[in-house]
């Protein structure tokens, strides 16, 4: 349903949290992270993929993810995995998001 009505959501502030969440279960490369976010949101969170890497670099600078070289289908790939502090940050972000989402729903849900 969302695929036909695809629109871009301004979720700049939540992109780092979504990246951390997509790395919780397994390490992934940039393309895998982008596709994972798009697929899991059923296309609603459609973002420009060129902006994914600056967010990944920021997370790496903050020590929340770490990158390493890997080979996939004979092709060298830079993969990313979440760190211990990244997991702690994700738990905090999730709690904040739930609180925010509840507050917004309380207001908009009345309309």
């Amino acid at each position: 349903m969302h695929r036909n009505a695809r629109y871009q959501v301004n979720f700049k502030g939540t992109l780092p949290t979504l990246i951390l969440d997509s790395l919780v279960h397994e390490p992934r490369h940039g393309y895998g992270i982008a596709q994972g976010i798009k697929d899991r949101s059923q296309g609603v969170l459609d973002f420009k993929e060129g902006t994914l890497y600056p967010a990944l670099h920021k997370l790496e600078n903050e020590g929340l993810v770490e990158s390493y070289e890997d080979v996939e289908n004979g092709r060298p790939r830079r993969c990313y995995r979440i760190t211990k502090s990244g997991r702690a940050s994700l738990v905090k972000d999730r709690a904040q998001w739930r609180e925010l989402s509840k507050a917004v729903t309380m207001i908009l849900g009345e309309a």
Binding site: G30, Y31, K48, G50, T51, Y53, P54, H57, N61
Partner: protein, 212 residues
């Protein structure tokens, strides 16, 4: 590499340092190839797949703006390369190091002697000179190896820098503010650039000069 991707990368890597630009090129090319393969596997022609993969990357100028916030720019890389001249000049040679270490103390002694002789006005000049030299030269020899020590040192440094003109010009410090701004803007620019570099580099990769 297609012409479209080359153009996109050219715009996305503008003003980035050589290493940063190489990193961006490599990761975006990897990403583009995956997107291209996926589009071809969905039944698109090679040309159409190229258009889809490029469109998915978005605006190169926006990406460049965001890259410049997290990766070293060419100016910052130059500052890291060339901003270490004090260490190279003073720490590398034994004679220079000895002179450097003794000079602020010597000038301070002159200032104290002048104060004791009652020449307070003249004594201010060697005193300011001694503080300035100590700040510039001796900091390198202090055990500042952690971000918290570095932060404390920088606070102290700025307090001293602010106190120096007051000490030099006394009540007329504000009157000479134009002169101070003219003299201190390169220092302020270097400090501003260092703040930006500290945000971009993890602490483990900080060179010694970033701690000061």
């Amino acid at each position: 590499m297609t012409a479209g991707l080359k153009l996109w990368l050219g715009q996305a890597t503008r003003h980035l340092s050589k290493d940063s630009a190489a990193q961006v090129r490599s990761e975006i090319q990897e990403h583009y190839e995956s997107a291209l393969d996926a589009a071809v596997n969905c039944g698109n022609s090679r040309d159409h797949a190229d258009t889809i993969a490029l469109a998915a990357l978005g605006d190169a100028t926006t990406a460049n703006r965001q890259y410049r916030k997290v990766l070293l720019t060419s100016g910052e890389a130059r500052l890291l390369r060339e901003g270490n001249w004090e260490a190279k000049t003073f720490c590398a040679r034994r004679l220079a190091r000895t002179l450097t270490l003794s000079m602020p103390g010597l000038v301070m002694l002159i200032a104290v002697a002048l104060f004791l002789m009652g020449a307070t006005g003249v004594a201010r000049i060697p005193l300011i000179g001694a503080i300035g030299m100590a700040l510039l030269f001796l900091a390198r020899f202090l055990p500042i190896y952690t971000p918290s020590r570095s932060r404390i040192f920088r606070y102290v440094k700025w307090v001293i820098l602010a106190a120096m003109p007051i000490l030099a010009f006394g009540a007329e410090a504000l009157k000479f503010s134009w002169l101070l701004i003219a003299c201190l803007w390169p220092v302020a620019w270097v400090e501003w650039t260092r703040i930006s570099i500290r945000r971009k580099l993890p602490v483990s990769r900080w060179p010694r000069q970033l701690y000061l």
